[in-house]
């Protein structure tokens, strides 16, 4: 089936070429990082994780969100997701590939990465994260590819696949919960030390992921004439709405806890993010953008008319996507590390190489996504090919 991705229109190749430019640039900067060290990033003694891990966290959510489609389809026999399950699974695959790349890139000593498997520390959450992420990647690859292969052959899926699909469904929330546990178990990081971290991660994932799928599906409708169907769009839109409300509600609960209790350590990160702390407010414009996007998105989603209109739905999805992206990636990381253990503020801004490397990873993800979707579309196309 891979050969199906090797044939395509000029636009397809242009798009792949466009992505490859970013991949090459990102790779060149990564080589630089390998030789010079992580010093080429904006990271510091106080903010020791940054843009890479922020994107990683966000993308884990995107990967986990596949379950919002796969679960209704397989568990509740929600037929209108029929044409979408593969898109969901392959979105998870490419998101996970980006996640793993980002983790490797963030390492100071990537050549020793196998030490995690050679000398695993059972009390380290990162070890479990490596296991669940790779496991989920494998599960999704197996499920997606096997289903697609049976489409290709024109047979029904093999029976051994069912249990694996159910395993994948159970596995999906796990990847995000474990990722949340990376943060949520650290003493002294007030912003992270909250039990609601994992559920918040999940609801954010379940809103941004389907929002991303709405955007992708509408692109596919335009460029590839592949329509998931009006009802599937609406189903996704509802998923986005409910979980997005939950997401910001959770956020407000945290704000309440911090300010009602009045504990300085809890207030500080939130103050820093939105209004400034010790005279520093570098990220406030971004966070407020997230809030505005959230309001816009919510309004568009809640009004039935705009939700049912595809253009406004896509706009709403974009708003949701970027709102969650800002809060969950950069907000989360910067908030966690600020103020530092000495109650000081060390500002963090990603450097140009850092951003380019991350863009390179996104481009790689999009490349993988494009190729996988291309194969799905080609297989689908071959199923119906009446010339008229």
């Amino acid at each position: 089936m891979l050969e199906l991705a090797l044939r395509g229109s000029k636009k397809y190749w242009l798009w792949l070429g466009f992505l490859s430019i970013f991949i090459v640039i990102g790779f060149a900067f990564y080589i630089k990082q390998l030789t010079v060290g992580l010093g080429i990033t904006g990271l510091s003694r106080d903010v020791s994780w940054g843009f890479y891990i922020a994107n990683f966290t966000f993308l884990v959510g995107v990967a986990a969100s596949a379950v919002t489609i796969v679960l209704p389809y397989y568990w509740h026999n929600h037929k209108i997701y029929g044409r979408m399950t593969l898109l969901g699974e392959f979105l998870a695959v490419s998101a996970l590939i980006m996640c793993l790349l980002l983790v490797i890139i963030d390492l100071g000593y990537p050549s020793r990465v196998f030490n995690v498997l050679l000398y695993p520390n059972p009390s380290s959450i990162l070890v479990y994260d490596v296991i669940v992420l790779n496991g989920y990647l494998l599960l999704n690859l197996i499920c997606g590819w096997t289903v697609l292969h049976s489409y290709y052959k024109g047979t029904s899926s093999p029976s051994w696949l069912k249990p694996i699909i159910f395993l994948a469904i159970i596995w999906a929330p796990l990847i995000h919960i474990v990722t949340a546990f990376i943060y949520q178990g650290l003493p002294g990081r007030h912003y992270w030390l909250t039990a609601i971290m994992a559920p918040k991660f999940l609801v954010s994932a379940f809103s941004s992921g389907p929002a991303f799928l709405i955007i992708l599906a509408s692109i596919l409708k335009k460029v590839a004439n592949f329509d998931i169907g009006e009802r599937a769009f609406q189903s996704l839109a509802k998923t986005v709405t409910y979980f997005f409300i939950a997401f910001w509600a959770f956020y407000l609960f945290e704000v309440f806890t911090a300010f009602y209790s009045g504990i300085p350590g809890h207030k500080a990160p939130i103050l820093y993010l939105f209004v400034g702390f010790h005279g520093h407010a570098e990220w406030a414009p971004f966070l407020w953008t997230a809030v505005i996007l959230a309001i816009v998105g919510l309004v568009l989603l809640l009004i039935p008319k705009t939700r049912k209109n595809e253009t406004t739905l896509v706009l709403a999805s974009l708003a949701v996507f970027f709102s969650v992206y800002i809060e969950k990636s950069i907000g989360l990381l910067v908030g966690g590390f600020t103020p530092n253990p000495f109650e000081g503020v060390t500002t963090y801004t990603p450097t140009f190489p850092e951003v380019m490397i991350t863009l390179g990873v996104w481009a790689t993800g999009f490349l993988v996504l494009t190729i996988l979707y291309k194969i799905v579309l080609e297989v689908e196309k071959r199923r119906i090919l009446i010339h008229s």
Partner: protein, 341 residues
């Protein structure tokens, strides 16, 4: 099947025992370190040259390109340059893809009979296994050059660094070593497990796989486990290629001689077995000829004239019916051709 496998394992064991006894017990370092490698290499080169001449002696009478895509015809129809090459340049491209990426193998399918329906699944495992093995082999050969050339060129050092990037062991285990082993074991298992491939396999199919596995394993053993004196190895190897063979004073270790002897065996076996596909692929007429039969005339050196029924003979036989049916008779042509004859 088991017979064939057993015989090839036996052959391999003998090949391993020979240097073990020869160097380990009898101390024939000179024989195994210098004489046999020279001999093997001579046979290898001589054999390959013989093969090439042997094939080249027979002409390719017809241009029988296998076309796997649209021919070059009308200008507005998209010509598939790779699958139906029409120029030498396009043939070169096609050969490149065949030699380095095993393009034809990439097309592989697997047919299954589901009830009364034939279904065709994608089957790229063979391609993957073959690529892992061949590319791994290629990289290892290049990397080994560091024993034979001096000073070691930068690109080999670089390859070395990339390949040994992951610090799994000290010294680092090469990624290509793991991949080639995976590839080889897959290919061997496939031969044993897939009924069709098993049915067509002889001892001469198992043997090269086993031999190469043994070479790779002995190499990995040398690098990671029973470390050998690399300086002594370089002294020996460098001596061999500069035709000033010396046995290093330092002890190298029997395992090295096993490795070297197996490599020599492979070299000797190479030109006289299916392994010559490496050279043969370049001679393959269905792949190395352009599909330009109607553009350029291909000449067959042993072409000979044939006797056929000429128009005049034919007209004579059917003159009556031709006349009756009112189909023109052409006596001028007969006179003309007779005059020429």
């Amino acid at each position: 099947m088991w017979n064939d496998l057993f015989v090839s394992i036996l052959a391999l064991i003998i090949l391993i025992l020979v240097p073990l006894v020869g160097v380990g017990l009898l101390g024939l370092d000179y024989l195994f370190g210098i004489v046999i490698p020279y001999l093997a290499f001579t046979i290898f080169i001589g054999g390959l040259i013989y093969r090439m001449i042997y094939w080249a002696k027979s002409p390719q009478p017809f241009k029988i390109t296998t076309t796997c895509g649209q021919q070059k015809s009308l200008p507005w129809i998209k010509h598939s340059r790779l699958e139906a090459p029409a120029s030498t340049w396009e043939v070169g491209l096609r050969m490149f893809f065949e030699v380095f990426l095993f393009r034809s193998l990439f097309r592989n399918l697997r047919a299954d009979l589901v009830g009364k329906r034939l279904v065709y699944g994608s089957a790229k495992w063979l391609w993957l296994g073959a690529i892992l093995f061949h590319l791994g082999f290629f990289i290892i050969i290049i990397r080994h050059l560091r024993f034979f050339v001096h000073p070691v060129p930068d690109f080999i050092t670089l390859l070395d660094e990339i390949d040994g990037f992951f610090q799994l062991t000290v010294p680092t285990l090469y990624v290509s070593d793991i991949l080639i082993l995976l590839g080889l074991v897959f290919l061997l298992l496939r031969r044993l497990v897939d009924a069709k491939v098993n049915y067509i396999s002889y001892a001469s199919d198992y043997f090269p796989l086993l031999l190469i596995i043994a070479i790779v394993v002995s190499g990995i053993l040398m690098r990671i486990f029973t470390k050998v004196d690399l300086y002594a190895v370089k002294e020996l190897a460098y001596g061999l290629v500069t035709f000033k063979p010396v046995l290093p004073k330092a002890e190298i270790g029997v395992i090295f001689y096993v490795h070297l002897f197996l490599v020599s065996s492979l070299a000797v076996y190479f030109p006289f077995s299916k392994l010559v596909h490496m050279i043969g692929i370049f001679f393959s007429p269905t792949r190395n000829l352009p599909n330009d039969n109607r553009m350029v005339r291909h000449v067959n050196p042993w072409d000979y004239p044939v006797k056929y029924r000429t128009y005049c003979e034919w007209q004579e036989e059917f003159r009556d019916v031709l006349e009756e049916a009112g189909i023109p008779i052409d006596d001028d042509w007969c006179k003309e051709t007779q005059k020429k004859a």
